[in-house]
Amino acid sequence: MAAVKETVDQVRAIDVDQYKYGFETEIESELAPKGLDEDTIRFISAKKNEPEWMLDWRLDAYRRWLTMEEPSWARVSYPKIDFQDLYYYAAPKTTPAPKSLDEVDPELLRTYEKLGIPLKEQAVLAGVEGAKIAVDAVFDSVSVVTTFREELSKHGIIFCSISEAMREHPELVKKYLGTVVPVTDNYYATLNSAVFSDGSFVWIPEGVRCPMELSTYFRINEKKTGQFERTLIIAEKGSYVSYLEGCTAPQRDENQLHAAVVELVAMEDAEIKYSTVQNWYPGDKDGRGGIYNFVTKRGDCRGARSKISWTQVETGSAITWKYPSCILRGDDSKGEFYSIAVSNGHQQVDSGTKMIHLGKNTSSRIISKGISAGKSQNTYRGQVKVNRKADGARSFTNCDSLLIGHDCGAHTVPYLESANPRAKVEHEATTSKISDDQLFYCISRGLPTEEAVALIVNGFVRDVLQQLPMEFAVEAQKLIGVSLEGSVG
C-alpha cells in the first residue's frame, strides 16, 4: 500500500491550498495584441513562420467560427466568455524556438523541474529504473523543447512540435490535419483551428513499435491567456505508440480558457494508447478561478484491426467538457475509453466518450469511474452508435459513480443508437456512496480517516488505474488522493 501511504503523506504535507502546481514563473513574454480578429490570426501564423496554406486554413476556420453558437447542452454553467478579453498568443521572449536543452531558458527548466517533469535525456521519473520518456514541453503558446528526438529518429519516428511539423513535414500535416476533427466540428474545435498555437506531432512509420513513452506537458503561465493546443498522432500500418499528456496551470482568480484539439489516426493493425493526466488549476474552495477545459479529442481507427485506447485521469479544471471518441471505421477495429473523473469543491465535469461503429466486427469498451465530492457536479455523457453496416459490432459500457458527502451530484447520460439489429450493446451503471459502515470498518482496523477514504477510492478506480502506464498510475493515484483532500469529516 505504498501508494496509499504516499497519497496520505502528500495530503498531509499540503496546508491550506491543495494545488501544488499553482506557482507562477517570472518570465518575460511576448503577447499577441489582446482580442481576436483576422490580424490576430495573421500574427500567430507569422510568428510560426507558417506556409500560406496554413494561414488560409486558419482564416477559413475563423470565418466559420464567427457564424457559430457556443454550445449549451452540457450540464455545466459559467458566465459568458468574453473572447475579446483574451490573449491568443503568449511566448517566453528568451526561448522562441530552441534547438536543444542547453538553449532553453534556465527559468523554464526550473519550472518543469518544479512540476516534476523530466526534461533531461536520462532514466526518468523516480522509482522507474531505465524507463525513458520523450517529452515535448509546451509553455503557453509554444513548445520550448522536445527530448529524445535523435534516438526516436533512428527508428524513423517523428516527434516534434506541430509548428515545426508544419515547416518540416508539411505533406504529412496537410494530409492528416483536420481529417479526424473537421474544422467545422464544433464551436471550440473551430476556434482552435483558427488560433491554435502549439502542440505535438507524432508520426510512427509502418511496422515500428515506438521504443519509449512519448508525452507532452502543457503549462499555462501567462495571465488572461487562452491555450489552444493541437495534437496530431499518426500510427502507420502495424505500428504502436503509447502517448501521455499532462497539464497544469498557476493559481489565479480569473478563469482561463483551454480549448484543445487532439486527432489520432491508426492505420491497419496499428495501435495508439493515449493517456491523459489532467490537472489544470481547479479553482479555489469558493469556486473562484480555475481553467475552463473545453476539449475535442477524437481517434480514427482508419485501418482494419486497428486499436485506439483513451485513458484519462481528470482531477483538475473548474469546468471540463471533454469526450475523447473513437470512429471505428476499419473492420475488426477496437476502441477503448477508461476514465477516472474526480470532482471536488465547485468543479463541474461533463465528460464521457463517443464510440461510432462503422466497420464490421468492431468493438468498443467503456469503463468510467466518476468520483464526486464537495459541492461538485460530475456527469458521464456517452454515446454508442452502431451503423447499419456494422455487422457483429459489440459494445460494453460500465459506468460507476461514487459520491462522497451530501452536496455533490453524479449524473449518467448514455445515448445508445443502433441501426444494426445484430449488434450487441451493453450498458451497466451504478451509483454508490462511501458508506459510513465501510469507512468505520477501515478506521476500526486502525486506518486514519483520510487513509481509509484513499483506500476505498483507490479500490473503486482500480480497474482504470491498471490501464495507465505503470509509472503514471502511481502519480495518478496520488493526484486522486490530493484532489479529495478534506472531502470527508
Binding site: S435, Y441, I443, S444, R445, G446
Partner: protein, 251 residues
Amino acid sequence: MLEIKNLHAEIEADGREILRGLDLTVKAGEVHAIMGPNGAGKSTLSHVLAGKPGYKVTDGSATLDGVDILDMDPAMRAATGVFLAFQYPVEIPGVGNMTFLKAALNSQRKARGEGEISTPDFMRLVRTEAGKLKITQDMLKRPVNVGFSGGEKKRNEILQMAILQPKLCILDETDSGLDIDALKVVSEGVNALRSPDRAFVVITHYQRLLDHIRPDVVHVLSKGRIVKTGGPELALELEAKGYADFVDEAA
C-alpha cells in the same frame, strides 16, 4: 484489562438511552461471554467500545489497562489494542484483502511508533495465520469480503484479529450464520489466540459457540445493564430456561 464503570450511552440521532449504567471488568487472559435478548444493547456496547460514530456516551468510563479509551478516536483505539469482530463485516470493492491487512497493520504500528513490517515478514505471518483458518490464497487476493460467504466473512474477521494481535477482542455474534464446520474452524482460531495477556468479550445467543470457546465468566445483559454474572453453567441455564427470569429482574 478492560474496566467499564457505570457506562451510559445513547443514540445520537434520537437521544434514546441504550446503555444504562453498565459495569464490566475483564481481566487479562479471561474470556467473558455476554448473552441477552435481542435489543438488549450488546452490539451497542461493542460499537461504543470500538468508537463507532452515532452514539453518545453520557456518563461512566471505559479503560484498557488503565487508559481511558472513550476519549480516543477509533483508529487510535485499534492501535491501542481494541478489536471488534463485526456481526456484519463490510465489503470493500477493489481493495485486496492482503492490501487491506497490510495497510491496517502498518497504520497501527505507525500509531504506536513502530516501524513498518517488512513484506517477507508480513507474507509469512499471513500465510501461517490464513492456513490455520483454512483461508485460501484466492480469498486473500480477492477484495475485502466481496463475494465471501457468511462463514468466509467471519473467518476473515478472525484472520484480521490474528494479524493485528489486539489486547481486547470483542466478538459480536461471530457464530451467527455459521454451519457446524465453520463454527469449529472459527472457534479453533479464537482459541489459538487465547493468551495470558489478551482478553475476550464474546457476544452470543447460543451455548453451541461456548461449547467450543469455553468462557471463564458469563454475563446476562438486559436493557443496557449487566443483570447477572456467573460461571459457564449460567450459559447452560439460560439455554434451558431462556432470559425471562433475568429480564424481569431487570425491569
